[in-house]
Each structure stands twice: as structure tokens, then as C-alpha cells.
């Protein structure tokens, strides 16, 4: 291609990039957070309930269309999550694409959590908190030793254990998302913990967009100054949902969302 042709192609690519960025960041209207009493689950919709003690983990299988509610019962825990596609666990959560595709490291109601295959694993259909972490990840043996002077139960060990119990290994543990972990960056890129943004009974509802194996670890986030002894239970509620409406807040959020959901729907067409 000629130099002029290259320049024209680059200019067209830049224009498209700037348009997508503006749509993703300047024009995007996200829904308000869910009210604490805003999304009650009826008893007959509940499939499974599990309270996970501090330091422990649980694995939940979700069918497409079901949701998982994760509740920070007393507001002092964080819930780190990994997810793999049930039929092909080589497809799994990808935090980098989740951030990059949505032009934001801040998860909240209306966002999607993507796989490494350009498809949607989970939709954030309800969220009271809007304070979650995609960058720093869960606690490890090292992080607990440094913070508490001893190695305590930690998310890294929990994920190794959870993965092993479904036939996966260390190679299958990608970066995780941690809910109820109010982490932002300051102007210089340093991480900041906003403890005041945590409340008892904060919850997220995550709708499965494919059949999933989900592992959840209940440990203090490594930036949380709370001692591990102060960590409290989280509750997991797997529940049924009506099919998404045509104007579903997640499925219609952006051109990127429209494409990601279309690619996901093809799996089930």
C-alpha cells in the first residue's frame, strides 16, 4: 500500500477509535445503583443458598439465564470471583478485556464481565455498591504475611483449591474480579482504598450468559486494612430469572455490548 494509502487508513482507524471512545466514556449513561431493598428475590426463584464463612470459598454452577447474588452480609468482606465456561473451561473470565472493551476499570450495574473469547460470561444486572476491583486481585500467602505477620487463609490458595476440585490447575487461574473492594487509582496511578464505600448487605446480581462454573473466595481484599479476624460471612444465592427484556440494561448498553451479547447468543442459537 502507498504511503498515502497507509496514512488514510491510519486516519480512518483513528477516527473510528475516537468515536468509540466518546461513546464509551463521554456519552455513556450508566443506570443508578440498585437500592438496598430494590431487588427482592422471591422464595420460589431461589435454587440454592450458601453462606461462606470468612476465609473460605465456594464453587457454584450456573445455567445460562440464572443469576448469582453475592451479598457482603456485614460489609466487612470482599468476594473474589473466577468463572469458566462449563462446556469448555479453556474459555474463562478475562479482566483485561472486561476493562478494555468497556473503557472503564470501574464495574457497576449495567456492565458485563467478558471471557477471553469475546463473549459475555456475566451481566451485572443489579449492584448496590459500584465499588469493585479488577486490577489488584485477591489476597495471597505473601500479602497476608506482609499485612498480618502470618500467613492466613487467602484467595490465591482458595482458587488453587477450587480449581483442583473441578479438574483444573494453576494454569487455569487468571486474574480475578473482586466485589465489594472499593479501589481506585489517584492521579499518579497509586491505588487508593475507600473503606467508607462499604456497607452491610451490599449485593450484586450476576446473570450467567452461558453455563458457568463460578468460584468465589471470601477473604479481605489485600488493600483492606481490616484484620482477617474482622472478616465476616458472605451469602451466595443462586436464583432463577425471567428472560431478559428487549431493553435489558446490560444487553443494550453500548455497541460493544450489542456485539458481545450477539456473539454469546450464537453459542445457544
Amino acid at each position: 500500500m502507498s504511503a498515502q494509502g497507509n496514512a488514510q487508513r491510519a486516519a480512518a482507524n483513528r477516527r473510528r477509535y475516537e468515536e468509540l471512545r466518546a461513546a464509551g466514556q463521554e456519552l455513556k449513561q450508566l443506570p443508578a445503583p440498585t437500592a438496598m431493598d430494590g431487588a427482592p428475590i422471591t422464595k420460589d426463584a431461589i435454587v440454592q443458598t450458601e453462606q461462606v464463612p470468612p476465609g473460605w470459598h465456594a464453587t457454584v454452577r450456573l445455567s445460562r439465564g440464572e443469576a448469582l447474588r453475592i451479598c457482603d452480609d456485614l460489609g466487612r468482606s470482599s468476594a473474589s470471583l473466577l468463572a469458566w465456561r462449563n462446556e469448555d473451561p479453556c474459555e474463562r473470565i478475562n479482566c483485561a478485556d472486561t476493562v478494555k472493551v468497556q473503557w472503564s476499570a470501574a464495574l457497576s450495574k449495567g456492565r458485563m464481565i467478558l471471557s477471553d473469547m469475546g463473549r459475555v460470561l456475566l451481566s451485572m444486572i443489579e449492584d448496590t455498591s459500584g465499588a469493585h476491583d479488577l486490577l489488584v486481585g485477591g489476597s495471597t500467602a505473601d500479602s497476608t504475611l506482609k499485612a498480618y505477620g502470618e500467613v492466613t487463609r487467602n484467595t490465591q490458595a482458595n482458587f488453587i483449591s477450587a480449581a483442583a476440585k473441578i479438574g483444573l490447575g494453576v494454569r487455569d487461574i487468571p486474574p480475578c474480579v473482586t466485589f465489594f473492594a472499593p479501589v481506585t487509582t489517584d492521579a499518579t496511578g497509586r491505588f487508593v482504598w475507600h473503606g467508607e464505600r462499604k456497607r452491610a448487605c451490599d449485593f450484586v446480581d450476576l446473570r450467567a450468559e452461558m453455563n458457568l462454573i463460578v468460584a468465589v473466595s471470601n477473604c479481605a481484599h489485600p488493600l483492606d486494612p481490616a484484620r482477617p479476624a474482622a472478616t465476616t460471612p458472605i451469602t451466595l444465592i443462586r436464583h432463577r430469572l425471567p428472560p431478559p427484556a428487549a431493553d435489558d440494561v446490560c444487553r443494550t448498553a453500548s455497541p460493544e455490548a450489542l456485539r458481545a451479547y450477539a456473539f454469546t447468543d450464537q453459542l445457544f442459537a
Partner: protein, 210 residues
Amino acid sequence: MSPTDQDDLVYAFDIPAEQPWSRILKKGQTLRIIDSEGEQAVDALIYVAGDTAERYSAQDTLRVQGSAYLELGTRLISNCGRVMAQITADTCGRHDTSAGCCSCESNAVRFGEATRYLHACRENFILELSRHGLTKRDIVSNLNFFMNVPIEPSGNFTVLDGPSSPGNYVDVTAEMDVLFVISNCPQVNNPCNGFDPTPIRVEIRQTPAA
């Protein structure tokens, strides 16, 4: 470059635009990645040689240093909490480890179906990893040298124009024997490489450059 540097040089290679590369880096050796023509993004994966289940972890690295960006002095941490390597020289000043690598699938979501059948880093990584008995499962998190991805306090996350000038380099010194895998990012859809992939040069020295 001083004559001492040249004496120390044990390997040099120009990686063409859009191509992958890999090499074992011995403990104490330094890999210099040179952005030959400027404004190029370099994606990299690092594994412990001999035990590839232990590999570079972006989240562990960011947690340990408390900052969202990589810079001079950053220790590159494995998923087992060990220091695999350290950034020992840097004439660019901006490197990312949060934005992952491009793939045909994520490009199709970000930029539209028309971009699906373009070169992408994950294709490069899969091909290069296959030479070492590794697969797509082993692509977990990567480094993006010379990539400027500011994260605002609001969470806004943008890949900006490639910040490196011709000849800018970054040195990575191995703290253990590691397999270093590079995709010289073929991305033509965002400004990390000026929409125009160009060659890079890699050089390996026995010791950290002065």
C-alpha cells in the same frame, strides 16, 4: 552505547512488525527491548523456565508495588509471589500491564466484525507458546511495554498514542531463569502503535547495562 555494553552482548535480533519471538533468559541476564522506529507496543509473557505453571502475574505485580503502571525499578512478580525479573533501565517511562493483549475475538467486540480477521497478539502467543508445549490456557496476563494506558480516578481507561520515540528502550533483568515470550503487537485498531506496526529490536546482555 559504550564498548562495555557491546562486549556484554550475547544475542541480538530484530523482530519484524506483527511477529512473535521467544527465548530463555538466564538468571542475571538483561533483555533490552528497543522500540526501533517509535510508537510501537510490545506485548510480553514470562514463565519460569522448567516450571511454566509459575508465570508472570499482573495483579500480584500491581499489588506489590501499589501502582497501576510499570516503571523503572518495578519487580515483576509471579503467581507464586516470587520476583521473576526487574525493570532495570527505562528511557520511555510508560508501560502497562492491565490492558491485556489484543485478540481476534476482542477486536471484533471492540471495533466491529470487520476487524476479526486481522493479526492479533493472542494468535502470535498461541503459535509461539506451542513451540514450548504451552497452550491458550497458559495466556493469563501480560505486560505491554511502551503502552500508555492511563486509568483515571473515575475508572476511565483509554489506550493513548504510543509514547515511545525511535530508539527508546526498556531493560528487564532476570532474577531466575525465565522463558520470555513477545508479540510485537500487530494491532492496527488503536493508537498504541500509531495504527502502524513497526519492527523492534531485542538484545540480551550478561549483566545489567551500566
